[in-house]
Symmetry: C2
Subunit: 338 residues, 2 copies
Amino acid sequence: MSEIRRDPVSNRWIVIAPELFEEMILSAKDRFEPNTNLCPFCPGNEAATPQEILAFGPADRLPNSPGWSVRVFPSRTPALRPEGAEDRQGKGIFDFMNALGAHEVVVNGPDHHGHLATLSREQITLILKACRDRINDLFGDRRLHYVMIFIDHGKSAGQKLGHSCSQIVAVPKVPPSIEEELRGAKQYYDLKERCVFCDILMQEVKMGIGFVCENDHFVAFCPFASRFPYEVWLLPKEHQMAFGTQSDAQLQALSGILQAVAIKLDAVLGEPDYHMVLHTAPNLAAKPGYWQTVPEDYHWHIEFIPRVFESATYEWGAGYYVNSVAPERAALALRTPH
Amino acid sequence: MSEIRRDPVSNRWIVIAPELFEEMILSAKDRFEPNTNLCPFCPGNEAATPQEILAFGPADRLPNSPGWSVRVFPSRTPALRPEGAEDRQGKGIFDFMNALGAHEVVVNGPDHHGHLATLSREQITLILKACRDRINDLFGDRRLHYVMIFIDHGKSAGQKLGHSCSQIVAVPKVPPSIEEELRGAKQYYDLKERCVFCDILMQEVKMGIGFVCENDHFVAFCPFASRFPYEVWLLPKEHQMAFGTQSDAQLQALSGILQAVAIKLDAVLGEPDYHMVLHTAPNLAAKPGYWQTVPEDYHWHIEFIPRVFESATYEWGAGYYVNSVAPERAALALRTPH
């Protein structure tokens, strides 16, 4: 029933997924219950979810049974499905195709109440491993040009159940926000013959104005042109275009800085809701040259977007942002030991 | 204190306005009070606002006194100011300039409780006239490349006081959402030698699938690739690129269809919060050729974005939308007489 339609003005693709409607209505009501008996993400309730795709747990554990530490399965009501062909068609001046893709859920741990700031380092590393393994598996399908991975933390950020999860959405088109970054990074590289993200990193660390914290592999900072109050970016220090190539040791380092930033945001902003979004290179096996850029220019990173004020919503749509907290002020607050 | 900073990756400009911080904190608390004695937008409280720029009322009325039907003044805490020069500078790899622009408020009427669905037709026409007159005045300043006009209706849409207002934001850069439309409309025109919006209008009216209602000058419809449930666009039937050229008679017709759509949304969705946004051509007097497009290809319009589900927020940022209500279904519901 779902299809992807092309807006004839902006050329962007929109997923029209009427079967999500019932699910959304349910979400809109209070499904944020602390009652773990009813939570489909809690251990013991595996039957309430689709069959698992991946899980980490003891070797003798049966699939779809308790005992896991991280569990991945398709969304109960996916907007996108991996079956079938694109089947592109026109209807007068309008273009549409099948809603090809995948929508998967990574349950971030067995504990209903755990989240980035409170989970163990080992647990966060396992979540990152699951995401890395899924992205590499999904990119085996050349029809899927991009994989979005994000955590919506808290009700105002769109979290639907009280139990923390990461979402993996594989799509046949690179999202406009990523295309814009790829285009900008390519322009910069053409001009300077340097990676723009590497230059940002150098300057943020050297000048120290937006600097928040670092470890051997990663730096966290509030970017110079932050769109939102207390926006934080995490970048690998080494130039790397794709998240999928990370070693276990790198993911271990990443889990440390992710948790440090989550704890700092909680301390400074009083446990805010936030979005945490991975920005990585598109599927390089799919249609070379499609992105009109050399993806080697790109540098993967993670963006934290705390939801501090309600009024930011219109700005998302216009792409025109007014930020009432200078990033140097936000960085200073986050840098201070708590 | 405010400045506009360029994101070195995406090249988009972000307004950093620390003086807004206090205002935002106040807004975040409950300023939605129905107590009209305290409302700075209510008649009698004119002293609580900056000096008015424009007001419609009896000829013998003194400025900044009661008796007006529409009143326009600068925002109390504008993120952008018309004084001074751009003064572009670099700081290492980062670019910034003064926050040149304007931020004005149009009080939509003396009645604290009135809004689009309940105001008189004459009142709505006056609001539109004030917006038209302000856009034409602001475009006299060639440093201002674009004027955004929008109404945030309801708390979840970012309305800060209970009293309805329109906001006018003049900026030195065309917002990315408009640039994208200008680019797409130009591509289409180059290929087909027809306006893409005129083609959409023809097809929506002819096929009738997204059609909602019309009058002599305007058509309302749910667009084929709607990003949001119950998104409605209003287009002038005649090809017109700019809102600023509208005659009083056209604004009279526009007020009718605006109100019809607001009433329909209220009836079908139970008085939802919404954004109403004007999309019009950039300042043609400023830097010809700057937009890499022929603005004659463009067709001004108004977009209604009801806020039906909380979870849409992340999608705004990624530019990747999942809409759970097919626009043909939304249009059918809105078309039905109530």
